[in-house]
Amino acid sequence: MSKYYVNANPTGASDGLTPETGFVNVSALTDEIDLVDDDIIEIVSNGDVDEGEDTPVFSTRVTIQKYEGSISRPNWRILQLSFNASFSFYDLDMDRNSIAVDLGTAAGIALPDGDSSVVVNVERNKINNIFFFLGGS
């Protein structure tokens, strides 16, 4: 199990290993790091963590949560996020940037489909203009 960090405005070369040197967004982290089960990603409240047009996909058991040293919930702007295994996210301010979404596209947070062993924990988040779909849309 490892803990990685995401920081919108890192103060050092991004390596994801400390809150100060976290990757600028989750997509950048998963591009560099091969996550394994029970890894934790902590997001630092230091500006908007924006995934842009990228859509992070997780296939291992992962927890995404507020960096414990952050006082406020960090902003995380995502267009789409998909999980194929158990996952949790806590204490985040998740935002679609208040853009009207065409639901003709699969936008939002896609929960795993068809696996009865999967556990999804979503707690204490402020979630704006994002919808969840379980089993596809």
């Binding site: 489909d113 696996d115 204490r124 402020k126 919808f131 969840f132 379980l134």
Partner: protein
Amino acid sequence: MILNLKNNDLQFHTDGYYFLQLFPGAPCTLNILNNIFSGVIVDCIDMYGTFDGKILNNIFAVHTLTCLRIYGGSISNLSIDFNDSFNFTEGDFVSDDESIDINDFIGLHNLRDIDPMFVNPTSDFHLQEESPCRDSGIGNSYEPTVPLNDFDNVTRRVDVTSMGFYEYIIIPPPIPPVPALQNDLLIEQFRVDRPNITGFIQKFMTQLAIISAEVAKFALINSIDLSSGAELDKWGAIVDLSRDTLNDTIYRNEIKFKIFLNTSKGTPETLIIATRYLTGATSIQYDESTPAHVTITINALIGTFASVYDKLKRIKPAGVSLTLQVNTSEHPFAFGGEGGLPPFFMDSLGFEETGGGPSVGGELTELIT
């Protein structure tokens, strides 16, 4: 799979969409608790598939068609209860599948079509003091899936909790001042002006305020003066006094007197207090004489003389005789048969005066021995 969705602030501000679309390909257990759905949306939750679980303590405060819509599938052991629904147009909990009767899953504790009374319905989802959602959710003691903390990690009550993601909390009162001398006697690290001690005490002040408020509510509920009807009958049962044909006012006074009697020690002070209560007198003279006799003289009388005297006899110490006199400063006029009949009236003036005292002018005195 299991979906645990708890203590979330779920906002949607774009027309025409759902928030949770649940069409799983495998059986799914839902634990959707203490969330607030807000904004403008078609359905908050759409479901199609095989489900069980709990949808509890949520507030659906959305301009919406439905709060929850079941399209079809197989539903079993799903509890939809302790939720508040508001601002829907097609029903709060709806099944589009005729084979699924959603009423089989809707509990009796939902607040249906009731304004949750947020501090601000668009920007601040804390509950107002008068909110019906306050303390109306099921607590963790009865339902272990209920989160122990709220959105801000504030500890929730475990017996009952507030619907939505904010627990209603009472603002802690300020720490009461500690006399300087008393504070100075403490060793320095325990003085109340130390930040860590202040914080420590403040933590307990919150709990103390909650307990105090509950005790105050309990006292209000259990006030004889505020009880009526069946509530008053419960008080009567406690002191073993049946109502018979008495109205609330008289019955309440009888109960209060019975309580007084049960706790009375027959002291002079007790007799004086009881006399004041029973008669409304503002002046009470208490005299003791031999052998073992007490004379009480009052300046006013509410109620019947015989009733008051009977009650005082039950309070006085055993073996002590009692005389009660009413001595007013008025000079009433009494008709025949109403005045001057000893031993009840002495010194009254009227027709056919037969009293034993002076019959001219004078004061009205009631005397019973």
